[in-house]
Homo-oligomer: 454 residues x 2
Amino acid sequence: MSKSMQRRKFIKSVALTSAGMALLPTVKAGTVKDKLRIGVIGVGQRGELHLNLLLLRDDVEVPAICDIDQPMVDRAIALCKKLNKPVPQVYSKGEYDYRNLLARKDIDAVIIATPWEWHAPMAIDAMNAGKHVGCEVIMGITVEDHWEVVKTSEKTGMQYMMLENVCYRRDVMAILNMVRQGMFGELVHLEGGYQHDLRAAKFNNGKQPDGGGLLYGKEAYSRARWRTEHSIKRNGDLYPTHGIGPISKMINNQAGNRFVTLASFASKSRGLHEYVMQNGGAGLPVSKINFHLGDVVTTMIKTNNEETIILTHDTSLPRPYSIGFRVQGAKGLWMDINNSIYIDGKSPKAHAWEKADDYLQQFDHALYKKHGAEAAKSGRGHGGMDYFVQNGFIEAIKRGVRAPIDVYESASLSVIVPLSELSIERNGNTVEFPDFSNGKWMTRTDTFGYNEDY
Amino acid sequence: MSKSMQRRKFIKSVALTSAGMALLPTVKAGTVKDKLRIGVIGVGQRGELHLNLLLLRDDVEVPAICDIDQPMVDRAIALCKKLNKPVPQVYSKGEYDYRNLLARKDIDAVIIATPWEWHAPMAIDAMNAGKHVGCEVIMGITVEDHWEVVKTSEKTGMQYMMLENVCYRRDVMAILNMVRQGMFGELVHLEGGYQHDLRAAKFNNGKQPDGGGLLYGKEAYSRARWRTEHSIKRNGDLYPTHGIGPISKMINNQAGNRFVTLASFASKSRGLHEYVMQNGGAGLPVSKINFHLGDVVTTMIKTNNEETIILTHDTSLPRPYSIGFRVQGAKGLWMDINNSIYIDGKSPKAHAWEKADDYLQQFDHALYKKHGAEAAKSGRGHGGMDYFVQNGFIEAIKRGVRAPIDVYESASLSVIVPLSELSIERNGNTVEFPDFSNGKWMTRTDTFGYNEDY
């Protein structure tokens, strides 16, 4: 969109807002409920974790699950039996059997944990069928997918929440507390990313999730069945939300601020080919693959409030796991790689880091203070953040209030994927973010992390 | 330059190379000398350090110095006396008195340590006067400045070396050793920067280098006399070379590789204004300044060998000093912020960092093994790297061989300043690097760090 077109749209939306919010399409609040009936679409590694969390709750029933992968269905049923829960109806008759699950009248919401390319069509079908959607990260493949999810949510009044769990990481929420209390001053610059050696997850032996072979696609197990293909065909930041989600909360994205422009550079691609060669792939067809995905993809984002954000995507090289957070304001900064903080005038030594631990404890978020032990207990995953993100979705739907990561914010985070691909195609030139909220970002306020229960 | 123009130039330069290197303009090797007579232009904080290093050497005489700042001249003379060295002739009669120093027949080379805006004119005048030039970092202000320095060096046969000391930092040289021995595999992605809270250096009381007041410009002392103005008027990565210099060596820039494109984003500017306000500036004219320099400027670079490089410029916010190095290849990576390394198949625990110390010791560079103690001794600055960078210049001139950071490489590092300004002006869009070497980068080899003496 040209600058002048954007300006006209902006003026138009301001006019509408002044005339009254009711004129704008909004996501209707649901009915207040004590108990939800939730279907799970996709019960692979990630979906099984969600199912487990759902089954442990008193306020949720799971009457139906869906997956076309029989071993995953078997594991899900075994899990229900192990937890002495009723075995849900299974929908597994082909790729579109999920629509029969959606046709049920007794389901309030679905959790979607399928391959990325299915997220948008399933979410759209679900909302059109009158179900709220909690969807695993990545809203869709194309920019158009993102628009369609947003428009469907607006049209149906059904909520869509991208289940970005790192928003609820304990240290991240403590830092959010510090940001909101002004400890870092006005924010200026933030960094994050997804730096995770997924080489073994991209190739396995068809029997285990990680490694043991060089299979990918239909012959492989779990993620390698679908995710590897994205490393072969695409070049962009394919997985930005763990880094950008928490940053989004700190800079009040969609609550007075928004992402405006983006530029991405991709490095050469060496990691996956070298992994294949090191693991006996020489001579096999897999050794001939030209992986499009650059090993390290860097994305710069500029916000409307003029913060800069740097994101790194690095999943094909040998390396320790790191989100690589940096939160920097006019008074100080935090970095997670060295677990350190510096606050001007407060840190005991000028120009010298302090360990972050005392701050993280002092500013521990109310959610963790009240529910942290419960959240972190056995089977609840990733130190409690998986519990909290699902809980945030469920509590918002039950109470009929806006989800803590709502459809506009979710779209703005996930759309970085196709925008980064576009920028790389254009030799690193700048690409503009769509305004999915059509100007509503200016006057909305955020609800995330402002209470101690969800 | 358009892609097609570039291609034509490329083809033309390949043709010339094939016809014989002698047809290309080259920097002529100097005469072999046992002893050099070196003039120092600019004897402020940085120039005084150079003067001190020169006076400690047996193979150098300093017959002349130049500065228009009388207190700095007085300090320089006192230093000579303290070290029992002959007091040099002083050139201090106005901004162009340096040309009278250059007119002397008894000087082989000059070291320039003046404000950035004087580097290019002084270096050009010096080479035209038949002097080799060792110049403090930043070659010039505009892209044209850089071209003119390069062309003057080619025309006169005089060498130009940008004295980028971090290329000689001990840990950096150990990592360079590891890179050259293939420990990280083929390099993929590198990061560096200049993250240094210079707020107190940008404002002082006119009597001391750091702080104590809010003066800048003519009334201030040392750097604040000239450097602050660049933060007021310009927006870009104003000081990229400490980060990019070592990276340049690791990726063989100008020796088979080169920087091709760049894009820069600048954050909002808050740090300097807040510093002024916190230090009693409210109501003073200095509180009304609109500082153009974004507090954090990020630059992405793509090389001809498809590495990506990220640079950060951050000099106006409260923070600990950090160059923020990251050197990452297909087999592993080093980061300096957490002093850690990971090498695939070698690090004891998969997906987990090792402390870098043992590697840094094991791969300590021959230069440091042989001359480290000498270099680090009292008065030689920054753990020895200031000694080594100056030594590299002097030894190359004495031996009549190419300087370890020669004019083409120096230009390619420093030109990041005006290119980043241009990209920011263009809303973060990509800018192409000039090829100062006119194709010679393809066939040259690097000389830096391949021996144990310079």
